[in-house]
């Protein structure tokens, strides 16, 4: 154990990586909160919860309170998903084969929350605490590895990871977002400690741990390096590598605060802080809203610079597509808005042409410029091709895994190979940069996601 003299915190490991890339995209959010109008409707999207089959508890038109369950998981009925606001169920949107896509809740002016008894949570045993977290709808904030699904409450993880340092393009700064909520954060960490036999690990930025250095009951580690240095898969590999049958849980920093806040008030905390980012946004800033809020009133507060924009719940590498009249996701702390790139470029395939396009390849001068603020758009810059170029994925992939071999094993659905090559240690987001950088334009995240779905169905 090293006692870091700069920050006076005990650090068990300094994780460093050279593999990866920093994408210098224009549109980082200024550290200022902007006020927005409250949203009229809020949405729960079952697709936000990977691997969950929803079973509805409410019908259209029924009244609902904040923190009251809207649906539960068919496989594990104890996992409930609760409403972020009080009001009534406005509509349930279904897609193909009656799949539930969105449950839209109309909010009413009088706020009314489900109350849980939390006064003696510190004295509860593990099972009682689990029940409290499950009943209150806070359980979906806890994810598990392998697979990145919502944690199975019947299991005990060998470690719990919370990383406050993310490296995704234009990612929010959690020290800024959470610095008024340090007590809730500490509460949340203490609760997580009760759920695991072993450690809770807390990752911080090696250059600036901020307020997180004061958190106790955790094993501190620091992270430095290029994206995806902030991805928890790398931290797990370094500190508690996943073996067959192991479980590790992960929780996002703001969700730790929400858990802590619940444990001190007894009310579900729907608060969500969002960094509005991207080169379509004129003056990107932070906003505070609630989970599942409408995007329109939020984005109306900002001037969008282009006519056709892509609105993304999350960052430009791993986020999910939304639209101006869509809703915020359940977990993301970031919205990215970038222009659509549906235009043609004459002879754009010539090397060293169109150097204004951000590229990690030496066939463009854009790397040499070291420009800080590249304009990006959604053009694929080519077409999908067979896998030809080798070695480029490894450059942006710091895990001790052969990414191309794993992708190929997933394509041919060779379960044994996938297992041996490390499918348990990755989530699709780890392949975001590979999606971006690979010459053949293959959809690595999609392939890995399908591979993980196959593993869940076949192996469990």
């Amino acid at each position: 154990m090293i006692l870091d003299s700069n920050f006076l915190m005990r650090i068990i490991k300094k994780i460093q990586t050279r593999k990866g890339a920093k994408l210098n995209i224009k549109g980082e959010a200024e550290k200022v909160f902007k006020k927005t109008h409250p949203s009229k409707t809020y949405a729960l999207k079952p697709d936000d919860f990977f691997g969950i089959l929803p079973k509805l508890l409410k019908k259209e038109g029924e009244e609902i309170k904040t923190g009251e369950p809207v649906f539960f998981s068919k496989n594990e009925p104890r996992i409930k998903f609760v409403s972020p606001v009080s009001g009534f169920i406005k509509s349930i949107e279904r897609g193909a084969r009656r799949k539930i896509e969105k449950i839209i809740i109309s909010s009413s002016s009088n706020e009314n929350s489900e109350l849980h008894e939390v006064s003696n949570w510190e004295n509860l045993n593990r099972d009682e605490l689990k029940k409290l977290i499950l009943d209150s709808g806070n359980w979906p904030f806890i994810h598990q590895r392998p697979y990145g699904t919502i944690a199975n409450p019947n299991e005990t993880p060998k470690a719990i990871f919370v990383s406050t340092h993310t490296t995704n393009p234009l990612c929010p700064d959690f020290d800024f977002i959470l610095n008024k909520e340090i007590e809730d954060f500490q509460n949340g960490i203490s609760a997580l400690n009760k759920l695991s036999d072993q450690h809770v690990f807390l990752g911080t930025d090696a250059s600036f741990p901020g307020m997180f250095k004061n958190i106790s009951d955790v094993q501190h580690y620091t992270v430095s390096g290029l994206h995806p240095a902030g991805n928890i898969s790398l931290h797990i590999q370094e500190l508690a590598p996943l073996n067959m049958g192991d479980r590790v849980w992960t929780v996002n920093p703001e969700d730790v605060v929400k858990l802590g806040c619940f444990l001190s008030t007894g009310k579900f905390s729907p608060k969500r802080t969002i960094a509005i980012t991207g080169n379509s946004v004129e003056q990107p800033k932070y906003i505070v809203t609630k989970q599942g809020a409408e995007l329109q009133p939020i984005l109306n507060e900002f001037k969008l610079l282009y006519d056709q924009n892509r609105v993304i719940n999350g960052d430009v590498l791993t986020g999910t597509i939304s639209c101006l009249d869509g809703h915020l996701g359940y977990f993301n702390n970031q919205i990215s808005v970038i222009p659509e790139g549906n235009d043609y470029r004459m002879f754009g395939w010539l090397p060293f042409k169109d150097n204004n396009i951000l590229s990690l390849s030496n066939t463009s001068f854009s790397r040499l410029f070291k420009k800080k603020d590249f304009e990006v758009d959604t053009n694929i810059n080519g077409e999908e091709r067979a896998l030809v170029v080798t070695g480029e994925m490894e450059k942006v992939f710091p895990l001790d895994i052969y990414p191309m071999q794993l992708i190929k094993a997933c394509i041919v659905e060779d379960i044994e190979k996938m297992e041996a090559l490390g499918i348990y240690e990755v989530v699709p987001e780890d392949f975001g940069l590979i999606d971006y950088a690979n010459t053949s334009k293959i959809e690595a995240q999609e392939i890995i996601r399908e591979g993980i779905e196959l593993m869940i169905n076949e192996v469990g």
Binding site: L317, D343, G348, N362, L421, G432, A444
Partner: protein
């Protein structure tokens, strides 16, 4: 540009879904995307994508090949004129070479691309750009006087048997261009070896002959070229492989752009140098005592290791594997040169041999990672039970 774009959009209509020529859409798209990078946007996965694509990658390789090709065209004329004792200028030599080589390039592209387009339409996938490089490489590594129909048949063989039969671009085991050469080498040996094929018109005009340096050494003859000549490439040989100087320029382009694997190239040079030094120490025949440095700059070694061994599809794919693959290619190249007088140049066979072994090398490298993981699992299991 807008007018052209509009024209293309009108032309494109009959190739659309449910239209008359839908089946031929891949062929039209190939032409369209040559003019314009398409307006496709991301639908899943990362929302932004790098500017690099396979077209750009392949065009970079072609740019890297051009210096060697241009010198090869000049050298073809140069070798012809110095033997006929006619006075000549640089332009004369270049025109003579171009007259010989451009038709070969055209035949290679027409035959190869026809097959590629045919398969793309038949299989309903896009035309891959890989052939742009293969199609240029094939004539570059042939002797200058090979009849055009042989170029055509070799090309067809390579594309059909070495590439499409395995599933097309990205799936082939052997380097297609080298397969074309190997096919010609074994099918038409009289056109591919001996002392009458390396200089333009040698078989037609009396008094012209020209053995390659390695051929002379294998036949026990003396070599009268200086090291400078060998390095700059004013020597007989296959069309574009003679000039190590311009191959090095190509290698720099490939390495600096990150398109060619520096691991394979460096590994190959190390392997060949080690083997060359060992044979120098042994020194039992003319080829063994031929300086190891000269081994690196004569024959097709430099060209092969820079442009053929680095083909990412047929080479090893892991970084460790690339080192092993490169070093072994170098070793085998010199070994074949020295031990087998029937094949004075070993680089073609060395690379093809290593192409076959590349998946095996990768298998063991990747297995190292797999075993490490399994060991960790077993250790954890033991800890739990203990």
């Amino acid at each position: 540009m807008n007018a052209l774009r509009k024209q293309l959009d009108t032309l494109k209509k009959p190739f659309g879904k449910g239209q008359k020529f839908e089946k031929f859409a891949p062929a039209f798209t190939a032409f369209e995307t040559f003019l314009f990078v398409p307006n496709h946007i991301t639908k899943k996965g990362a929302h932004i994508r790098d500017a690099v694509d396979l077209k750009r990658t392949m065009v970079t390789v072609i740019i890297a090949l051009l210096p060697a090709l241009i010198y090869g065209i000049y050298n073809t004329g140069y070798q012809y004129y110095i033997q006929t004792d006619e006075p000549f200028t640089f332009i004369d030599a270049f025109i003579h070479g171009a007259w010989k080589i451009v038709p070969m390039i055209i035949v290679s592209y027409v035959v190869g691309l026809s097959i590629e387009f045919g398969f793309a339409v038949y299989r309903g996938h896009e035309v891959n750009e890989g052939y742009l490089v293969t199609g240029l490489l094939i004539p570059m590594i042939m002797p200058v006087d090979i009849p055009l129909w042989m170029v055509g048949i070799s090309t067809a063989f390579a594309v059909l048997i070495a590439k499409e039969a395995f599933g097309g671009t990205g799936m082939n085991i052997l380097n297609p261009a080298l397969t074309a050469r190997a096919f010609a080498f074994f099918a038409y040996p009289t056109y591919m070896s001996g002392n009458k094929v390396w200089v333009s018109e040698a078989s037609n005009v009396d008094g012209i002959s020209g053995e390659t340096i390695l051929g002379s050494l294998a036949a026990g003859q003396d070599v009268n070229y200086s090291m400078i000549q060998m390095f700059q490439g004013s020597i007989p040989g296959s069309i574009a492989e003679t000039s190590t100087l311009w191959v090095v320029v190509g290698a720099l382009i490939l390495i600096l752009t990150g398109i060619g694997s520096w691991r394979i190239i460096t590994g190959g040079i190390i392997g060949a140098a080690i083997m060359g030094i060992l044979f120098n120490l042994w020194g039992a025949n003319a080829l063994m005592s031929f300086s190891w440095m000269n081994h690196l700059i004569v024959g097709g070694f430099a060209f092969g290791i820079v442009f053929m061994a680095t083909d990412p599809v047929s080479a090893a794919q892991t970084n460790k594997g690339k080192w092993i693959y490169g070093i072994l290619t170098g070793i085998f190249c010199i070994m074949i040169r020295v031990f087998n007088p029937a094949y004075p140049e070993g680089v073609m066979l060395a690379i093809l041999l290593m192409n076959v072994f590349a998946p095996t090398i990768d298998h063991y490298v990747v297995n190292g990672n797999i075993n490490k993981r399994k060991k960790r699992w077993i250790n954890a299991q033991e800890l739990k039970t203990a």
